[in-house]
Amino acid sequence: MSDEQEFEPRIIYFLCSWCGSGGGETAAAHHLHYPENVRPSRVNCTGALPAVHIIRPLIEGADGVVISGCYPGDCHYNDGNFRARRRVALVKSILDTLGLEPERVWFRYVAHGEGQRFVDTATEFNDHIKKLGPNPLKTRSDT
């Protein structure tokens, strides 16, 4: 139990430059809080996030990766978020071959004005990863 309490997950939160970041900025404008160990990383569009960029942090020891972008139909670049959804689904389907649980990757739509949803996602994902436990690859010596 004390292990879990000391376990602070390393989480990368990929955000698109428009709705995703906007959600983050709205949350900040309203001074909403989320756990400090969630680290945002920007991409222009969730559709521009290569599969490798999702897998690499997990191999390098991140405990979870969550991705947020515009809602379907609202993608600033038309349809990037549709491809993102498919790409994430694809990545999740092969994570078990790497020894990882597919639940370590989440994909959730967050709109520009949804500050609350942004922090909810960050907080929920953090709790979820805490329950899942640390990344099993961290204990391996071949990564």
Binding site: R10, I12, S17, W18, S21, G22, G24, E25, T26, A27, A28, A29, H30, H31, L32, H33, Y34, E36, N37, R39, P40, S41, V43, N44, C45, G47, A48, L49, P50, A51, V52, H53, R56, P57, E60, G61, A62, Y71, G73, D74, C75, H76, Y77, N78, D79, G80, R83, R87, A111, H112, G113, E114, G115, V119
Partner: protein, 978 residues
């Protein structure tokens, strides 16, 4: 004396903003008078006009850009006081009062709100509107403000001044554009619908406003008690309101349907009914939405009269309505949503007094015939909802169309963006990264130990310099930061600042003033990612260090590259010599550019057989204009055989009787028109007494008449074969019906929905004239039979005798030619068969989302106008053609142009590229192509919006974004995790 070059724009509706943008981009300064106290104060009215469940603040971005560049002088709380002079030389006097908070200098630290001693209704006297994250506007509720001045004292940048003096300014301008915003009917106007009498009745614009912050989850329809309604009634109020109170605009029917569909999306079990008189979705894609609603289980009730009665003490109202057949019904709902129309502008009297413009019969501003935006006064233009009930496509088109009409009153261009400061070439230098931590005028010190962070940052590998700066977002701080960057001698910069979404321009300016390419710099959301969202100081320090580390790794691997320049061929090609083609050609040619006009018939003029005498004269006037002017070259009996290239650089081949002609052109205007639907059945072609409306009109002009005339609407419209509304048929049929009634004929109109529109209410006039209306169900058209007595129209049990039967035929694309042209130009047709105008703005036709992009290049330099675009009337064809011409004029003058995204474009590592073409398919803008010779992918920088889809799909990492290269991102991610 030369004409003035500056333009005054009074009012800020969508069209006004668009006109401002077009003027600024084509080199004219403008003064923008905002009646409100901040940008977007009138925005909710705009939402009512569309309404869309997104807020469109970003649509106003171009205005900020132009202010920064110096083309725009924006004034708030403004009022025009005096106008004198004449077209080309107006002298105007206006008053203004600046915003309480100067947005340019405001850092949104919220200190002013914290110290304000007054609290009312849950918020302070000074507060932020809207409650979203983009350029928040701080406004003071002066009714409750005590003028204590505490907010002003505490403001770190001096952006806030409680007392702003009212100033009176004067200016000399060449033209005046009136662009007053939309007015919703008042609560009193809507009293028959219980608005204000029950909490269960709301306006649709209010639901839209609440949706902004919730992205339309059920909260936006929540009742005051907290309950989520399960039964909804959506009422299109102008269909049932007293005459003259509100006018129906273009989008109302589809807005009601859209709201219904959204409700069903979120609350699938809810009971949703739309109440209207007819479904008047005459626009592109509107019928498809109707079918979608029906498919989703929305009920559509067509009513003749309707009232809403509140229930005391309950969160319920009852809708009392009578069907078209006369029976009365009631329907109780928990929430009634009113889709309201547009009221005539209250300012008309004042505008008339100031400028001499006249109001029309309905109280809107009158526009000259055959013109888009010219009022009765030379040099004064009116556009958008000021001139009539409007929907967004027309308003948006009018914006650029104004540019073509206003040119003749303006002098030489008087605005050119200043060239950027010269940049240093850092090639070959050892990498020295500098990290500048913003303290937001000292405020961040309270939340985090900045000196400790600075020390830790200094220890990072590659960091040659670290310091704390005061800010980088006001004039003085931008200069100071640039100085610090320069002095430190670094060649890579990380700024830990705030919201680059808003402030990118400012940060770019700071680093460029220091001589560095923005591609070598990274701007971190220090405030949004750390300061405002966390509480644990130690963890914040750790996270900040991680973010800075990521930024440093990224900039260390940055590349410097200037914006790739390209030439824009200063010529236009117009395909089609009808009204649309002729209009576009004359407008562009009038501005000095050569135009090539290609018409596949023998003569110019298009389908003149459908025009009345005045319209014919107008077109003939255009033909002589085009034939007499030097810079338009016409080829008749000609067509395109080849086309390749991209916006600004098209190479086409025209096959003309004189031989093949190669043409280099910058833009292509598609004005190929459409055709009338040829009816099948109804005895058409078998019995000469059955005719189309056009044939009826020809008979009537020839002096013939008949005692009994029956008309059948929607022939070749809104059927599975032709799945859209052809827009013009109801207007045309009722016009003819009224004339027939004047001659004494008996007229019966069989219809599914009467979709008349425009300034003249033909429907009311027809009913007053005694035309009979009989509705038939969507899936069972009446039959036409011949008996000894004449013709008989059979509708179910009903039989109507007639001497003539007129079929109101729709408009269909010229499928063979459209498809051939679409393939040739590689430009898609939409599912209705017309040239597509951006699927991502569905359900509203015109590229509303592309307002943030340089819209002139959004469709790759190809502009469909007139009937090639969608069913349009004579005036609307002129409007779309002038809008296209306006957009063309914004770009065509520039010989060498940087791409709209400047240096932030995609590129290809050719050595890694295998020419697979995946990136070409995936690009939403068609900005990529495979070089046939080298077998590698290449980018058209003009069209690239830097989204990165190509990067994600490339199997070899050959495709990259200049500001997001693979090696940068991976290194940044690794660093983020340490």
């Amino acid at each position: 004396m030369n004409n003035e070059s500056t333009v005054l724009i009074y009012g800020t509706n969508l069209g006004g903003y668009r006109a401002a943008y077009a003027l600024g981009k084509s080199g004219h300064k403008f003064i923008l008078l905002n009646r409100g106290s901040y940008v977007d104060e009138m925005r909710y009215q705009a939402l009512a006009q569309m309404p869309l469940d997104f807020c469109w603040i970003c649509g106003h971005m171009p205005q900020r850009l132009f202010k920064a560049l110096g083309a725009m002088q924006d004034c708030y709380n403004a009022e025009l006081l005096e106008v004198s002079g004449e077209a080309g030389h107006f002298h105007v006097k206006f008053k203004k009062r600046d915003k309480v908070v100067n947005n340019f200098a405001c850092t949104e630290c919220d200190q002013c709100i914290e110290v304000c001693p007054v609290e009312v209704d849950g918020h302070k006297a000074i507060r932020v509107v809207p409650e979203a994250a983009w350029e928040n506007c701080y406004v003071i509720d002066f009714e409750h403000c005590t003028r204590c001045g505490k907010c002003e004292e505490v403001c770190p940048t001096g952006a806030l001044k409680v007392e702003r003096p009212e100033e009176v300014l004067e200016a000399d301008v060449g033209a005046i554009i009136l662009a007053d915003t939309f007015e919703e009917p008042s609560d009193e106007d809507l009293r028959d619908f219980a608005l204000g009498q029950s909490s269960s009745v709301v306006r649709n614009s209010e639901v839209a406003r609440r949706s902004l912050l919730t992205n339309f989850v059920r909260d936006s329809v929540r009742l005051p008690s907290g309950k989520i309604p399960q039964t909804f009634g959506i009422v299109v109020t102008p269909h049932f309101n007293r005459p003259g109170v509100e006018y129906e605009n273009y989008n109302l029917s589809v807005s009601a349907i859209y709201r219904a569909v959204r409700l069903k999306d979120v609350l699938p079990q809810a009971d949703v009914t739309v109440f209207l008189h007819d479904y008047r979705g005459t626009g592109k894609g509107h019928y498809r939405w109707y079918q979608k609603a029906l498919g989703a289980g929305v009920r559509v009730e067509r009513a003749e009269t309707l009232k809403i009665v509140p229930e005391d003490g309950a969160e319920r109202v009852t809708i009392h309505y009578a069907s078209v057949g006369g029976e009365s019904y009631t329907h109780t709902v928990e929430l009634a949503i009113l889709v309201t129309g547009q009221s005539p502008p209250l300012q008309m009297a004042e505008l008339s007094r100031l400028t001499g413009v006249q109001a029309d019969g309905n109280g809107f501003c009158h526009i000259r015939p055959f013109s888009c935006c010219e009022t009765d006064v030379d040099g004064i233009f009116a556009l958008g909802e000021l001139t009539g009930p409007k929907g967004n496509p027309e308003t948006v088109w009018e914006g650029c169309a104004t540019l073509t009409e206003v040119q003749k009153y303006l002098g030489e261009k008087n605005f050119k963006p200043a060239p950027g400061p010269p940049l240093r070439d850092v090639e070959g230098e050892p990498i020295r990264a500098g990290v500048f931590l913003c303290s937001c005028f000292g405020l961040f010190n309270e939340r985090i130990d900045l000196p400790a962070l600075e020390e830790q940052v200094r220890a990072l590998p590659g960091v040659a310099h670290a310091e704390i700066i005061e800010g980088c977002c006001t004039g003085p701080t931008i200069k100071a930061t640039a100085e610090r960057i320069k002095q430190s001698g670094v060649n890579r910069v990380v700024l830990a600042v705030c919201t680059p979404l808003q402030k990118k321009g400012k940060y770019d300016k700071a680093v460029m003033m220091a001589g560095l390419n923005p591609l070598l710099c990274e701007y971190l959301r220090f405030r949004e990612d750390v300061i405002q969202v966390h509480t644990d100081r130690d963890k914040m320090l750790e996270k900040s260090l991680a973010l800075v580390r990521g930024g440093v790794e990224k900039v260390k691997r940055g590349m410097q590259a200037g914006p790739p320049m390209d030439t824009f061929t200063p010529r236009a090609l117009v395909v089609g010599g009808g009204l649309g083609g002729l209009t576009a050609a004359t407008e562009i040619a009038a501005n000095g550019f050569p135009v090539v006009l290609v018409e596949h018939e023998e003569k110019l003029g298009g389908q003149m057989q459908y025009l009345d005498e005045e319209q014919r004269k107008y077109v003939e006037g255009l033909i002589s204009a085009v034939e007499s002017v030097d810079n338009v070259t016409c080829y008749t009996q000609a067509h395109l055989t080849q086309a390749e290239g991209y916006a600004g650089n098209y190479h086409v081949v025209v096959d003309a009787p004189t031989g093949t002609v190669p043409v280099d052109t910058g833009v292509i205007i598609v004005a190929t028109g459409a055709q009338e639907y040829r009816p099948e059945g109804f005895l058409y072609g078998q019995d000469p007494r059955v005719m189309t409306q056009a044939e009826l009109q020809a008979k009537m002009s020839g002096g013939e008449t008949a005692g009994r005339v029956a008309m059948i609407q929607c022939i070749g419209s809104r059927t599975p074969e032709v799945p859209y509304c052809s827009r013009l048929c109801c207007n045309q049929a009722l016009k003819n019906a009224i004339v027939l009634r004047e001659k004494g004929s008996d007229v019966t109109v069989f219809y599914r929905d009467i979709a008349t529109y425009g300034k003249v209410d033909y429907y009311r006039l027809a009913r007053e004239a005694g035309v009979r209306f009989v509705r038939f169900p969507d899936d069972r058209y009446p039959e036409v039979r011949s008996n000894g007595n004449g013709l008989e129209v059979v509708n179910g049990e009903m039989r109507v005798q007639a001497d003539w039967v007129a079929l109101s035929t729709g408009i269909v694309p010229d499928a063979e030619n459209s498809q051939a042209l679409s393939r040739l130009l590689n430009y898609p047709l939409d599912y209705e068969g017309f040239f597509s105008t951006d699927i991502s703005c569905y359900p509203y036709e015109e590229a509303i989302k592309k307002l943030t992009k340089p819209f002139e290049l959004a469709s790759n330099g190809i502009f469909p106008v007139g009937l090639a675009h969608s069913p349009r009337s004579f005036e609307e064809t002129i409007l779309t053609a002038k809008d296209a011409a306006g957009r063309v004029l914004v770009v065509i003058g520039k010989k060498k142009m940087p791409p709209p995204n400047k240096m932030f474009v995609a590129d290809v590592h050719e050595s890694l590229c295998m020419g697979c073409g995946l990136c070409v398919d995936v690009c939403p803008y068609g900005a990529r192509y495979i070089d046939e010779v080298e077998k590698v992918a290449r980018v058209h920088p003009f069209l690239c919006d830097s989204c990165g889809s190509c990067v994600a799909i490339c199997p070899n990492d050959a495709s990259y974004l200049r500001d997001f290269m693979g090696q940068q991102s991976i290194a940044a991610l690794d660093a983020l995790l340490v």
